[in-house]
């Protein structure tokens, strides 16, 4: 037995071991070569952000820095995640061990794809990476990630591709194909860490993770559709669906709608006031086909590369103004309609979707602090804001979201808090109430409230507050009499900040 072990098994093991060592050594050599090749293409981005305070909107929170990764993609052009640099006061990058970072500015930002192009006078060693037009999905294909640490060292991680799937990116109304990967080495992903395939080709940027081992890659297909690098890095506006669908998988519901199981089709449940479907689609329509692709009962089409893919991805593959055909069932009749692809302008909503860290509009009168309701405002309650913010604010937010500003309703105004003063004794308990009406009329905007409260010829103004439609009587003259002292006592440099209305 011992002889067998010595003569037969050990030589085999020795050969196997040397083969493994050799392959590791090859991997190491390959890895070092690749590292050297991309060392001047991967950059570390540092952004300084200062958020306005919503509880005291006349002051700013302490500035905070965040770091992420990016890649050089052209002369003086760096690609990174929009979330790395959004609302930054200062952006800097380092490419190696240079002591002074290079200042950058945002050249173009595409919130829908969570990508940003930065520009600045990059050091001469900066080497643009070749961005292929597509990232090819291969199940279990090995990936490498490279990122720069604070002292310029390049670090490598590895992962394997798991699946291709559609998902909403950031706060977009559009879904995109993203690749999911599973880490096999370092936990660092997200923040725009560049991802390469095993041959060293650029593959995409890593964004938010799913669980401890999962992360998601914004693939080259999306990058190519987000910016036109040849035309001075312009943002390319891809189409937005502007409607929501729900699966039509209930047998009896299909029967009631006159649909056979083989017909496929999903139910349109909500149509927004902006986007491709805003004019042609109606709630209750059944969407059978889009852009020539039949849809299944879950609203998916058969993607040639990725298999069943959610229909809204078709919009991200077409640019604004391009036409798209849809087949729907309305009132049990099958009809073809032409959808004209359009964008969604966030600034047209009563409640913008993208969080903005711009200075907050506010109005202080007699210690009463009024603000427009925004998503960022309720996010002051932290990551768990859906459970911690007052229900009345969340409810108002939910009702106003997806609605366009009109001359009658431009903002939802919140009585945020009351700064105590002898004139408002007994009224200090108000806070986070929606101002629904003023003197029985729906309130249009903060600017209108300012106009009303400044009118000292009015003896009393009645605000109707939610929740509970509680009336609050205020005397403009009394408010005015307290303003000077409130300003001094609470160190408020300006009693109001109202952004001029866009024409």
């Amino acid at each position: 037995m011992n002889e067998t072990l010595r003569e037969k098994i050990l030589p085999v093991l020795a050969i196997g071991l040397s083969a493994v060592l050799a392959s590791c050594s090859t991997f190491h050599v390959e890895s070092e070569r690749l590292k050297a090749e991309i060392d001047n293409s991967v950059v570390r981005i540092t952004a300084t952000v200062q958020m306005p305070s919503y509880h005291a909107p006349w002051i700013w929170h302490q500035p905070v820095s965040r770091s992420g990764q990016g890649v050089v993609v052209g002369k003086n052009l760096v690609l990174t995640l929009a979330s790395n640099v959004m609302n930054a006061k200062v952006i800097r990058m380092t490419i190696g061990t240079e002591p002074t970072p290079t200042p950058l500015t945002i050249k173009a930002i595409n919130y829908d794809s969570n990508l940003a192009l930065l520009t600045g006078n990059l050091p001469p060693e900066a080497k643009p990476l070749d961005i292929p037009p597509v990232s090819v999905f291969k199940h279990a294909a090995p990936l490498r990630m490279y990122w720069k640490t604070g002292n310029g060292t390049i670090v490598e991680g590895s992962a394997v591709l798991d699946k291709a799937d559609t998902r909403y990116n950031f706060n977009s109304f559009q879904t995109q194909i993203m690749f999911h990967a599973i880490r096999s080495s370092h936990p660092q992903t997200g923040y725009g860490v560049p991802v390469f395939d095993n041959d060293g080709h650029f593959f995409g940027l890593a964004t938010q993770g799913g669980n401890e081992y999962d992360f998601i890659i914004i693939i080259c297909d999306t990058i190519a559709r987000s910016f036109d690098l040849k035309k001075g890095a312009e943002v390319c506006a891809t189409g937005m669906p502007g409607f929501n669908v729900s699966p039509l998988t209930q047998t009896y519901l299909r029967r009631k709608l006159g649909l056979a199981n083989t017909d496929g089709g999903c139910l349109v449940t909500k149509v927004l006031q902006q986007g491709a479907g805003s004019k042609q689609l109606k709630k209750g329509d059944v969407l059978l086909a889009l852009d020539g692709h039949p849809l299944d009962a879950w609203g998916r089409y058969k993607h040639p590369l990725f298999g069943p893919t959610f229909q809204s991805h078709l919009f991200s593959e077409h640019f604004v103004t391009e036409p798209m055909k849809a087949t729907i069932v309305r009132d049990k009749k099958k009809i073809d309609i032409d959808l004209k692809l359009s964008d969604i302008d966030d600034s047209k909503w009563i409640i913008p979707v993208n969080p903005s860290y711009k200075p907050v509009d506010y109005l202080v009168r007699g210690g009463f602090v009024f603000l427009p309701l925004t998503l960022t405002y309720v996010k002051e309650w932290g990551g768990d804001y859906m459970n911690k913010a007052p229900i009345s604010l969340l409810s108002a937010l939910s009702k106003a979201r997806g609605k366009l500003k009109t001359p009658e309703k431009r903002e939802v105004v919140v009585l945020s808090r009351v700064l105590s003063h002898p004139t408002n004794i007994g009224l200090q308990e108000f806070g986070d109430n929606i101002v629904e009406e003023v003197d029985g009329k729906p309130l249009k905007s903060l600017a209108e409230l300012k106009e009303i409260l400044n009118d000292t010829s009015r003896k009393v103004v009645k605000l109707t507050l939610l929740p509970g439609r509680i009336p609050l009587w205020l005397s403009p003259a009394t408010l005015k009499s307290a303003d000077k002292e409130v300003k001094l006592r609470y160190g408020i440099n300006q009693l109001e900040r109202l952004t001029p209305r866009r024409k």
């Binding site: 229900i391 007994g426 308990e429 009587w473």
Partner: protein
């Protein structure tokens, strides 16, 4: 009134009279402090045809006149079997809950065995203690098997939320005497009389224990004197301290020297809803002047004005003085306990309703159901809104309850309907559903074979064939071992 209730009424009256008898000695007190053991079991609110696991627990009680035992409701909630043991003696006596009021966390136990009363000296109820006066608690808390005695002082007397019902506030005495699990239901003694019943503590603070004062215990005994539990009445008014504001006083022309609180919210179905208006100023209650921040002076204590209603029984008259439209007005309200389509109280001794139609198991949307699915956080925003607004919104005044789809028992008749679990029924075939009983009727009497159920906040309706659902119901119940398709 039955013979039993008359007897009990006599006992309660006798007890109230005897409260003023000479104080008990320390040995008498120990003999009257009882260890209570309880096995309890409640129903599942998600699968209401099932009962939950059997749990065991211990607490304390004390004997009052007539050999009855007072303890906390939470010690004997959902009781299946109760036994009590005296300080001196190993014998365990089976006990029964005679009356239980979850809203004030009190229960009255009765022992059939006549030997229990032998040599028993019942404890008397005292009055409200003074702040900083010394009190002694007796009970059987964790950390040992024998009777535990701790001393402390009265730190504070005010209205506070009772944890057991979850949504009710009553007068509470705070003490620094140690009150730990197992003390619940035990007497807190001063000058040989019971001035409180130990019932809860504050885990986030040191030496903060709470007792139910004797005024609340007396209220409970008076309530049950007619043989039924009516619970506490409530004024059902939300108010604000606007009258502290000089400008507001000027707007409503409230004369100098007059004080009160401003009505901001009223609740449909409660007496105040029809007699008071938003922005009325309640200036006095039961002849007591209300301060601008809502307090009155009662028995030498500064307490919230609601304490006047707290000391009344359901059906009594609540005299109010109000200021409306620049004039003083007298209003009389009939004291009533809460009636609401969504139960805000924690559920105890409740047998939940349910109804199963084609494997769709509906139950009543209640606090018990919400707790069973993981609490407040598990609810979508629109159901949180419904929970908050339903009891204060005129729209829902005629609702008896809300039906929620608690479970889908998978079957060929309900394929792909699981996503509706947890949703509250709004309409059936376009008709608004105002109770689970009405839901049953609407489903079974629908003129359409394809019945449309719409849920609050959901864009997609649930469509089910009435014929198929009814024909499959029996097989589904058999398959899932459910004895009955409904309990309404």
């Amino acid at each position: 009134m039955t013979l039993y209730t008359r007897r009990l009424a006599a006992m309660a009256a006798m007890y109230l009279c005897f409260s003023a008898l000479p104080k008990a000695t320390s040995a008498d007190i120990k003999d009257s402090v009882i260890k209570v053991r309880c096995m309890s079991q409640s129903y599942s609110f998600v699968e209401p045809w099932k009962k939950t696991q059997i749990r065991g627990g211990t607490g304390t009680g004390f004997v009052i006149e007539g050999g009855l035992i007072i303890t906390n409701a939470h010690v004997v909630s959902d009781a299946r079997y109760i036994e009590v043991q005296k300080y001196s003696g190993a014998k365990r006596f089976p006990a029964k809950v005679k009356f239980i009021s979850h809203c004030c966390d009190l229960a009255l136990l009765e022992i059939d065995d006549p030997s229990f009363k032998k040599n028993m000296k019942p404890l008397k109820l005292g009055s409200l203690p003074k702040i900083d006066s010394v009190v002694t608690t007796y009970g059987y808390p964790l950390g040992g098997l024998q009777l535990s005695v701790t001393k402390g002082v009265v730190s504070r007397i005010e209205m506070r939320t009772y944890a057991h019902p979850g949504g009710d506030q009553h007068l509470t005495i705070q003490t620094d005497a140690a009150i730990n699990p197992g003390n619940s239901g035990g007497p807190v003694i001063q000058n040989g009389k019971v001035i409180g019943v130990a019932f809860q503590g504050l885990t986030a603070a040191d030496n903060v224990g709470y007792m139910i004062p004797s005024v609340v215990v007396r209220h409970f005994l008076k309530d049950i004197a007619d043989g039924k539990v009516d619970d506490y009445p409530d004024l059902a008014v939300e108010y604000s301290a606007y009258c502290l504001n000089p400008a507001f006083r000027g707007i409503v022309a409230l004369p100098p020297g007059m004080s009160g609180v401003v009505v901001t919210k009223l609740f449909p179905g409660m007496p105040a809803y029809h007699k008071l208006k938003q922005m009325d100023i309640i200036t006095a209650i039961g002849g007591k002047i209300i301060s601008n921040d809502g307090f009155i002076n009662l028995d030498g204590l500064k307490v919230r004005f609601a304490e006047v209603v707290e000391r009344m029984q359901v059906g009594e008259n609540i005299p109010l003085e109000i200021w409306r439209d620049g004039k003083k007005k007298l209003v009389n309200l009939k004291a009533a306990s809460w009636k609401m389509p969504i139960t805000l109280r924690n559920p105890y001794d409740v047998v939940p309703k349910y109804y199963i139609f084609g494997g769709l198991a509906f139950t009543v949307f209640s606090r018990g159901y919400i707790s069973a699915i993981g609490g407040w956080r598990a609810l979508p925003l629109y159901l949180k809104e419904l929970f908050i607004n339903a009891n204060a919104d005129e729209t829902y005044a005629s609702y008896e309850n809300f039906a929620v789809l608690a479970k889908v028992l998978p079957d060929k008749v309900n394929v792909n309907m699981g996503k509706f679990v947890g949703q509250v029924v709004e309409t059936v075939d376009g008709v608004t559903i105002k109770s689970i009983e009405q839901l049953k009727s609407a489903l079974e009497n629908s003129k359409n074979d394809l019945v449309e159920i719409r849920f609050v906040g959901c864009d997609v309706p649930l469509i089910i064939s009435k014929k198929d659902a009814l024909s499959r119901n029996g097989a589904i119940l058999k398959e899932y071992h459910i004895p009955n398709g409904e309990r309404l």
